[in-house]
């Protein structure tokens, strides 16, 4: 059974403090790489891995780091982990590595990673920090994949295109054509589609919260 703390961390990461649509942190990859599901999922998982590991590493050594120089130390730790992911992807998923390109090394500068390290891992226990990093990362991955799926369906009419880049040639037939003979709405794949899509996701979440709030506390009509 999970403790109350752990459940709070999971709920915060996945929904209440979701990095993608609540904190609006890490926008650079969210907007640039969410043009299809495969890219979004790969970068999301890579980020989640780096976040969990860096949170854990920082929490382990948090009492040894002198306070004034903590940010450079955090960045160094994150950079080491990102290098590991970068080299691993280059070795085992080279075509995907070529597609994601600069966005893998750029995980270092993704502010959500440093934000969690600074705000959470430097103060809390190691297990909680790893859980927080993983949940925040998965929350971001969820937003990335949703956005990627919407943009891919509207823009190309398919799902999972390019999956062979991640899993090798045997996955070539896994692409799901959602709308056959679709001319493609290119703007959804181009940058404007990312902004419009992210804005719509944030709006949907706000509408949902507003509905819940009015359902819990029905508005009292103003007396004349």
């Amino acid at each position: 059974m999970l403790s109350q703390d752990a459940r709070d961390i999971i709920y915060n990461g996945l929904w209440k403090q979701n990095p993608g649509i609540v904190q609006i942190l890490g926008m650079c990859p969210t907007l640039a790489i969410s043009n299809n599901v495969v890219n979004a999922l790969s970068l999301g998982l890579a980020t989640a891995f780096v976040m969990a590991m860096s949170n854990g590493a920082v929490a382990l050594v948090r009492n040894l780091i002198p306070h004034p120089v903590r940010i450079p130390v955090f960045i160094l730790i994150i950079a080491v982990l990102v290098t590991v992911v970068d080299l691993a992807m280059d070795a085992w998923a080279h075509p995907l590595f070529l597609v994601l390109g600069i966005f893998i090394p750029l995980i270092v500068t993704n502010c959500i990673v440093l934000a969690r390290v600074e705000a959470f891992a430097s103060k809390r226990s190691t297990t909680h920090s790893i859980l927080d990093g993983a949940m925040m990362g998965l929350g971001l991955t969820g937003v990335l994949v949703t956005l990627g799926a919407v943009r891919e369906i509207i823009g190309k009419g398919t799902l999972l295109s390019g999956i062979d880049l991640a899993l090798g040639p045997m996955a070539k037939d896994w692409v799901i054509p959602i709308i056959p003979h679709y001319p493609g709405l290119l703007i959804a794949i181009l940058p404007p589609g990312a902004f419009i899509g992210l804005g719509t996701l944030i709006a949907l979440r706000n509408v949902l919260l507003e509905r819940q709030a009015t359902a819990a506390h029905p508005r009292v009509p103003a007396t004349p």
Binding site: P183, G184, L185, L186, I187, A188, P192, I196
Partner: protein, 342 residues
Amino acid sequence: MNGSPYILRERNSVTVVMLKVLAALVPGVIAHAWLFGPGILVSLLLCGAFAIGFEAFVLLMRGIPLKPFLSDGSALVTAALLALALPTLAPWWLYLIGMFFAVVIAKQLYGGLGQNLFNPAMVAYAALIVSFPVYMTQWASPQDLANHTPSLLEAFDLVFSGGGSISPDAYTSATVLDTWKTQARLGKAVADIRGLPIFGWAGGRGSEIVALMYLGGGLLLLWNRVITWHIPAAFLAGISVTAGVLHGIEPTRHADALFHLLSGAALLGAFFIATDPVTAASTPRGKLIYAALAGFLTVIIRTFGGYPDGVAFAILLTNVAVPFIDAYTQPRVFGHQHGGKT
């Protein structure tokens, strides 16, 4: 900082202004139908219907009364401007997606008429040319050049079912701006390019007449005081000067100023699109700066950009600068000195 002026007088309500704008577009539409076939009527009808539909849908969702906002005519003006900026005889869903971007995204999501930062028709045009470059460059050929100009019924058939056996090549061609760009990149001589049948005496064959009709309609708007002279004059001056300088530097590659003024959406943009009271600058000096910048950018984008016409992108880019321009060009209030001191 002052906002755009309110329209308070009953005789000059939003509805009356919008109707005057629509009336001023009539000469251009008639010339278009005369010279390019009745396809324009189909696209005007479709855009108008889609605009009303989307506007009513969003107003219902927002819980806003339909009648005062639907009857102000602003959605119809957006629809008419977009229909005139799009190729005729395109598939019906092109107009549907265009009006969705114009009315739902560019206008209503920002808060409706008066709140939108960007010109709705131009947002839609930009979204469409980015998304469907092929459909957006197949323009109806002038009647005297086309192998076959579709009649009104055939135009409906083409728009809704794609026409089946008739190849688009029979009734469409690239615009002069597009032709100029591709031919000049191939290194053709100016005289050879100008000799192509698609060119008229100064701009495109047929389209130059339509552009002059927009000029006439625009002068009617000026005479009716719906718009002031600042924006059209500065916009056209921006185009002429920039095109003139480019032409002067390298006459073998760049078209002259008259060509730029009479081709594409230059005159339509100068009098009807750049003058949109919501998205344009509102101070007199600001209007001059805004429109001259838009004219300059139009020629720059046409000459060095990837897309044939630059009016839409130029106006959208200068829309972004409008709050900044307005903030720095506030006129001196009577009785005060510059800088707001008494």
